[in-house]
């Protein structure tokens, strides 16, 4: 790095770093992306690639989801095929009258916020998903729920950024930040110092450690999830199908194991089965209780899956913030440092909007959404410790 450094160093080559790098490059900034591992080696390569509007209550996160959906479809629309963008639609099902009523109430509020949500009667469910278990009490269909192949999305966004002049360096670990007083003026790495106009912390579940390098607190914690992958099947599950209880689980702050069924098929014919949530640090050991619950939940929704084999199980760590909102924007406690992360299990979908907002803010343009709800310093005022 001789002479002037890049305008922006992005720490983390996951989906958030990749989207941020691409939009910043497109806005004319010179960008360097660093990652201590390979690209998408953390959370981004270990999820299902959801772009969901259905699982969000009206509020800042839903606003970000709607913005992201627009960005995926419009700004990034010409590349959609590269990452297998698929508007498969989401079907939420309710097993009890109470949860069906709760779901209808949610869709009413979501529609008011601009979400396309269709209430589905119990008798209409088989038309959406012929293999669903009988006896469900109702549901809702969200045509706007989509999916991408997240690894391909990361790799191609980074390639587009590189084609636009960005530099992507994997296997480079940031070990410290360069400072001029309070100001962050670049990064120190195991391969030398890189001065930069701005530094973006997009380190996913490790974002807290990067913030610590600047002496600021960012309460991002890992929330572990498992996914089961079946053998390839003839078409069995058409949409992304999940239980109404999922919304409650996502919003919960409980550290203990929670599971709610999320079932969908992929282009290759396999069925992906989630979801589990537990806060156990970065413990990567296989949890048979989690797999048991995933399998039992999936079979309860789709009885035909009972005889189907699971070929693979994997886990990932969602970057979790105590208030379930991401962190996007400049850190006033360390000028020059920006954060983009803490999207929990929704990071793939929310990356498009996040990258756009970040590039707008970095170039001094007015962001398409107000960043106040996502302010990094919001946890400083006496929030309950997670």
């Amino acid at each position: 790095m001789s002479g002037r450094g890049p305008d922006v160093v992005v720490i983390g080559a996951g989906i958030i770093g990749a989207a941020g790098a691409w939009f910043a490059t497109r806005a004319g900034l010179r960008v360097t992306v660093l990652d201590r591992g390979p690209l998408a080696g953390g959370t981004s390569g270990r999820g299902e690639g959801n772009l969901l509007v259905s699982d969000k209550e009206p509020g800042p996160e839903l606003d970000l989801a709607l913005l992201s959906r627009r960005v995926w479809r419009e700004d990034l629309g010409e590349h959609a095929g590269l990452w297998e963008f698929d508007e498969k639609g989401g079907l939420v099902v309710a097993a009890t009258d109470a949860s069906a009523a709760g779901l209808a109430e949610l869709t009413r509020r979501q529609r008011a916020a601009g979400v396309d949500a269709v209430d589905v009667g119990a008798d209409e469910l088989p038309a959406y998903e012929p293999q669903l278990a009988p006896g469900l009490r109702g549901g809702a269909f969200y045509p706007g729920d989509a999916q991408v192949q997240p690894m391909l999305a990361v790799a191609h966004l980074l390639r587009l950024a590189r084609d636009g002049g960005a530099e992507v360096r994997t296997g480079v670990e940031v070990t410290g930040l360069l400072r001029d007083g309070d100001r962050v003026t670049g990064v120190r790495t195991d391969r030398g110092d890189i001065p930069a106009g701005n530094v973006v912390n997009a380190a996913g579940p490790w974002a807290g450690s990067v913030a610590e390098l600047a002496g600021v607190r960012l309460p991002v914690l890992p929330r572990r999830g498992f996914v089961l992958v079946t053998e390839p099947l003839p078409p069995t599950v058409r949409h992304k199908v999940y239980a109404a209880e999922y919304v409650g689980d996502v919003a919960s702050a409980d550290a203990a194991l929670q599971t709610s069924p999320v079932v969908e098929s992929t282009e290759s014919g396999t069925v992906l089965i989630g979801s589990s949530r537990e806060r156990v640090g970065f413990d990567g050991s296989l949890s048979l209780p989690a797999l048991k619950r995933l399998a039992a939940n999936a079979v309860a929704l789709f009885p035909a899956l009972a005889g189907v084999r699971a070929l693979r199980a994997y886990h990932g760590f969602r970057p979790y913030c105590p208030d379930h909102l991401p962190v996007i924007g400049p850190d006033p406690r360390a000028p020059g440092l920006w954060h983009a992360g803490g999207h929990e299990g929704a990071g793939i979908g929310l990356a498009a909007g996040t990258g756009l907002l970040l590039a707008q803010a970095l170039t001094g343009a007015t962001p398409a959404l107000g960043l106040a709800p996502f302010a990094p310093e919001r946890f400083d005022e006496g929030d309950p410790a997670p």
Binding site: P38, A95, A98, L286, L288, L294, A306, R309
Partner: protein, 488 residues
């Protein structure tokens, strides 16, 4: 599940597992012997019901181990669980190791035992054919040499009428002579290395005299059947429409690079490729035990001289610690069984242990010499074309993986797998893992590392298991105190 935990669970009833179970059982341990096969013997002593050992090597050793096993299973010392596969080893139960089992295949057995609890575990999981793709290798009529051998041994089936046996290493010889003896015409044995270097090395054959005699026997058999033995040669292309009709054989130098102008074509309907073996390490890796690159370039379990893995209570014997043949595996298995007994507080048979350790050390020197003389040719990836299928489960071509590397920055196997899907299908990379690692390393101008192989060898589900079986897992022993969202 209420019976008390076994002292030792042995996984695999091949040469190593049989010897381990018998040694541990005769030392007074209560042993569970879990195996996917219907009868003990593993791949090496695979046999049809009631077979008398014709065509098998060292059948006397097997017959002796089998009758000792029968005595032990007749009592309550050893419980033999055939037709079961271990899909996970659970460390969270009330015994140190709970093996979660599934039938070896659909309807394999009516008496399914879903779990076995044990205080210690001996992994004798063997290996499977290491495969190197070449253009045309997915045509019907192309088989792994081990598969051809298994058909011969298991049911006496001859997989073709006119065969070529190609690859490297001494295992090509029994496959070729086995085919010839069963009536197939063997057009050639195509060996990438120089002829039987391993027999000339003083540390090799001299240390294991039996092996030299064995090798000479095969050579005589090849002569008798008039089978040409082509060295420094490789089958670099397989031809055919619906099935194999011919192969291209080319001369190669010591690195595997093709020597131009020395090409020949052989008409065959069967190609048996033998490029050595890949140890089955799913359970070793899942248990967090250490692994390293072995003498033949495959990932192997790290063990001490007494066969202890790096995780307490875990022993490993046989091909999983390095491919070296059945005699080595039997000695290692016996030593693993004895070590498990000693660690469980039984008196130590020091003399026997020392003798086994010495025998294993000799066999290891022999195996190392053999692997050194028969390496996977360094430049074999140059035989591939863009269109060659690398992963047959997911139909991923060499070109797709190279594009993921060059255009998208997939420099390591895990990233390549997630971007281009090699290793994502039925076999979970068991067939294409080694080749994928080799292709990426070659593209980056570096050697394959243990880390590359570990990334592809990690399979938290060691075998496919149905969702119904998963759902039927017992509740965790100590349910945490929180409301269950699924009972709503």
């Amino acid at each position: 599940m209420n019976e008390r935990p076994f002292d030792l669970a042995v996984v695999g009833a091949g040469p190593a597992g049989l010897a381990a179970a018998v040694a541990a059982g005769e030392s007074g341990l209560r042993v569970a012997l879990v195996d996917a096969g219907p009868r003990p013997g593993g791949q090496f002593w695979r046999h049809a019901e009631g077979a008398d050992g014709a065509g098998h090597h060292d059948w006397e050793t097997f017959a002796s181990l089998r009758s000792r096993l029968r005595r032990l299973t007749a009592g309550t010392r050893v419980r033999h669980l055939p037709l079961h596969q271990v899909w996970a080893v659970d460390r969270a139960g009330d015994a140190p190791f709970t093996l979660r089992l599934t039938p070896a295949f659909d309807g394999a057995t009516d008496e399914v035992t879903p779990a076995v609890r044990a205080r210690a575990i001996a992994l004798c999981t063997g290996g499977y054919d290491r495969q190197l793709p070449v253009p045309g290798w997915t045509l019907p009529g192309v088989m792994a040499a081990g598969g051809v051998q298994a058909l011969l041994k298991g049911s006496g089936t001859v997989a073709g009428r006119r065969a070529v046996v190609a690859g490297t290493g001494p295992f090509l010889l029994p496959v070729a002579t086995g085919l010839a003896a069963a009536g197939a015409e063997v057009a050639a044995v195509v060996e990438a290395a120089r002829p039987a270097d391993w027999l000339r090395r003083p540390l090799g054959a001299a240390a294991v005299p039996g092996k030299a005699v064995e090798g000479a026997g095969y050579a005589a058999a090849l002569l008798r059947h008039r089978v040409p033995y082509l060295t420094r040669s490789a089958v670099t292309r397989v031809h055919g429409g619906d099935e194999v009709t011919a192969v291209t054989v080319e001369r190669v130098d010591g690195s595997g690079r093709v020597v131009p102008g020395r090409t020949r074509r052989l008409a065959v309907d069967l190609v048996a490729f033998g490029w050595g073996f890949t140890p089955s390490l799913e359970l070793v890796v899942a248990l967090g035990a250490g692994t390293e690159r072995g003498a033949d370039g495959s990932l192997v379990a790290t063990v001490d001289r007494a066969r202890r893995a790096t995780v307490p209570g875990v022993y490993v014997a046989g091909e999983a610690t390095g491919v070296g043949g059945a005699a080595k595996a039997v000695a290692e298995g016996e030593l693993a069984g004895l070590t498990a007994a000693v660690d469980a507080g039984r008196p130590a048979p020091t003399k026997r242990g020392r003798r086994l350790a010495a025998r294993i050390a000799r066999a290891e020197r022999f195996a190392e010499a053999m692997h050194a003389a028969h390496p996977v040719p360094e430049r074999w990836t140059e035989w591939l074309t863009e269109a060659t299928v690398l992963c047959r489960c997911e139909e991923v071509t060499v070109g797709a993986v190279e594009r993921a590397r060059e255009d998208l920055g997939a420099g390591d196997p895990r990233t390549a797998k997630l971007l281009a899907r090699p290793g994502m299908g039925w076999c979970q990379g068991r067939v294409c893992g080694f080749a994928t690692a080799a292709l990426l390393a070659a593209g980056a101008g570096r050697a394959v590392t243990a880390e590359d192989l570990r990334a592809l060898g990690k399979r938290p589900l060691a075998a496919p298991v149905t969702l119904g079986e998963l759902a039927a897992l017992p509740e965790p022993p100590d349910p945490p105190d929180f409301p269950d969202p699924d009972t709503a």
